[in-house]
């Protein structure tokens, strides 16, 4: 049987390129890494790093960067093909906080020294970043943030708290929004600082989450001294950098190919579950329709993404377009993983964490580990419509564009 693969059309002149990518993904990505991705386990710095080093060695460290900063200078189709082929081959995604988020902001707003200091280490995967934006009192209303930085000679002294900081436990650097002034509009007194995580006064505490993965943290900052040279852009204009970054955060080309791969996996799962049975059950038909709708949605999302990237490259991208894509894809990812949850059924929901294995004893488990990982993923994916701006906030952004006010 064939469940149609929504993005199977080939782009003629790029066939050779696709083949080159395919061979690279085949031969260079270690099987152990692919296994982590294939079975939906959490990808940590270690897997990201190994893959980034391989890509860097091949000259493909930054598919989305211009050549002058060591990027590939690829065009739209090439960038998309890269994501499609690597996702199909179960290679890990690239770590986004450096390459996708702060890297382009440094290119745009940074001094020559900052570019020379930070960009090469993002490219070769030797330095790892995290994003310190949200605070306990500043989530959707990010501009109300309170963490303060006060100038003291040629240093800033930071005091405050960040929350929901993904990857802080494994990061070397944090780009963070701080308040440098309380005058004027609340957006006006915000600055963007680049903070080494080993600076004295920083404490990282994990937040236990429903998915049982260690992903997010609280970050406490107590008299943290950072050189003024680590201010990105102009003091008090950090909001501009933050918006620049958020628009890009919503436009990750990896999202759709990963969704396509997930749709494929869910299709395989459904088939495996239905195999051997006699007549297909009503529940299988219901699941199948949900799957088809999601697959068609992936095909549409692909076109939305391609046109958004095109507009971004031409500098005409409207905020509503990237928000629409974020809104749509986050919802779609939840639909797909929701189907997976229903296929896996009650049994696996009851077996999320293997407590015997956690005690270190060796007991053979008959639970299919990749199905358990799908349950973790289901729980983790609740955050898809929260992190990076909630769906409600995206809708506010889009509505402003649609209604012209």
């Amino acid at each position: 049987m064939t469940i149609p693969h929504p993005s199977s059309h080939t782009l003629d002149p790029y066939d050779a390129f696709r083949e080159e990518l395919r061979q690279f993904a085949e031969s260079e990505c270690p099987p152990a890494l692919k296994e982590v991705v294939r079975t939906n386990q959490k990808v940590t710095r270690n897997e990201y790093r190994i893959w980034q080093e391989k890509l860097f060695a091949r000259g493909w460290g930054a598919p989305n960067w211009p050549v002058e900063y060591g990027g590939t200078g690829w065009d739209l189709q090439q960038r998309y093909l890269f994501e499609e082929v690597t996702a199909q081959a179960d290679c890990p995604p690239q770590y986004h906080h450096g390459l996708g988020h702060i890297g382009p902001v440094i290119m745009h707003f940074g001094t020559p020294e900052q570019k020379a200091r930070f960009l090469p280490r993002i490219l070769d995967g030797s330095e790892w970043w995290c994003q310190g934006y949200s605070e306990p009192g500043a989530g959707s209303d990010l501009a109300s943030l309170k963490t303060a930085a006060v100038r003291d000679g040629d240093h800033y002294v930071i005091n405050g708290q960040k929350i929901w900081t993904s990857h802080a436990q494994e990061a070397d650097m944090m780009y963070t929004l701080v308040r440098t002034s309380n005058e004027g509009r609340k957006q006006a007194g915000i600055s963007l600082l680049l903070v080494p995580m080993d600076t004295p006064g920083i404490e990282v505490r994990p937040i236990p989450t429903i998915d049982h993965w260690h992903h997010v943290n609280e970050v406490f900052l107590n008299d943290v001294r950072v050189p003024c040279a680590n201010l990105l852009g102009v003091e008090g204009e950090g909001w501009k950098c933050a918006k620049f970054l958020l628009d890009r955060e919503r436009l990750s080309p990896a999202t759709v190919p990963r969704l396509a791969r997930l749709a494929e996996q869910v299709g395989e799962l459904l088939r495996a579950r239905g195999a051997g049975g006699s007549a297909p059950s009503a529940s299988q038909h219901v699941l199948l329709e949900r799957l088809y709708l999601a697959q068609a949605g992936v095909a549409g999302a692909r076109e939305m993404l391609l046109s958004a990237i095109q507009e971004e490259m031409q500098g005409t991208l409207a905020a509503s377009k990237s928000s629409a894509l974020k809104l749509y894809c986050s919802d779609l990812s939840q639909q797909l993983i929701g189907i997976a949850l229903d296929i896996a059924g009650p049994e696996y929901a009851a077996r999320l964490v293997d407590t015997v294995a956690a005690t270190g004893q060796e007991v053979a488990s008959d639970a299919d580990d990749s199905l358990r990982q799908l349950i973790h993923t289901y729980l983790f994916y609740r955050s898809r419509t929260i992190a990076g701006g909630t769906s409600e906030v995206q809708k506010n952004v889009i509505a402003r564009d649609l209604f012209g006010a």
Binding site: E303, Y328, K395, L402, F403
Partner: protein
Amino acid sequence: MTFHATPMFPGDLYDTTARVAAAAPVTETFESQEPSETWSQFLQLGWQGVLIDEAHDGAGASLGDVAAIAEAAGRHALAQPLAARCAVVPLLLAGLPGASDVLRAMAAGEASVCPVLDTGPVPLAAVRDGDRLTLNGRLHGADLTEPATHFVFVATQDDGLPLLVLAPRDAVPGHASTWLGIDGRQTADIALSGVTLAASSVLAQGEDVYTRVERASAVGGLLACAQTVGAIGAMIEQTIEYLTTRVQFGVALATFQALRHRVVEMYVAYENVRGMVRRQVLDLCEGPAGSAPRDIALVKLYLSVTGRQVAESAIQLHGGIGMSRELPAARLAMHALACSLQWGDRFAHLDRLARPALH
């Protein structure tokens, strides 16, 4: 600047169709023997010949061109049978020796062929005897919103052999019941008992008939999707316009977040289906035809669900006036709903997709 829909296939065909469609009056009277003013203009413009090859005096253009026409017509909820007569019939008849004359007449706007491809409850039985073909049964759901000079349909012989039959309108007398559909489309069921035609009315037979019907209907479905994209774009524009001008509680409705968010959902759905349909049309123009019906089924399934959701939102957001047949947005909603059901509804396409999937 407020939202304005961007056509999938901009150009002359889109602009011209949109202009004619915008001026089209709404009629609800059944089967006049005269074509409407709107339809006459389309015939003169040669829209029936867009897909017909140049050897038959057509334009030999691509599916993207018909999709442009469909989208523009969809923006105005036009009930005229554009997909049926400008795409389905030309595809059904392409390359058939017996169809040369009628294809030429179609391209010239002198003939108009109504396809009747739904089997319906009483299938047509055919008996061939020398140079005569005798038909018994029923033509089910013939779209006669505009007059037709011919019917094309499938009849089945005793031995199960399917025949593709082209019959002049006058040669098919019979008792007809006529219907007005949810979007102003007008159809007829025609009961035939012992109607005889020349054997030369059979244009194709056997497996070829199924292949042609499946492919032509799939394209009909895709064009219904293009009409839906046009209708959705216009529904969003009109809904925004209404919410911006309608005042309740002393403020414009457009200030209420619950309403804004529902419009956003319509818009995000629009961007998605627009991309999806456009890509499918382009792929069909460029790619091999083999896998087309299945890919189209996926798109049609999605559009059937989404078109209906958006239509229901448009009505709800207009409040009471959303129930009025005079409101363009309400007619667009009915049009989207009709398109979601035509050329195979959600479940027909789900069945098509699922058939090989679970066995």
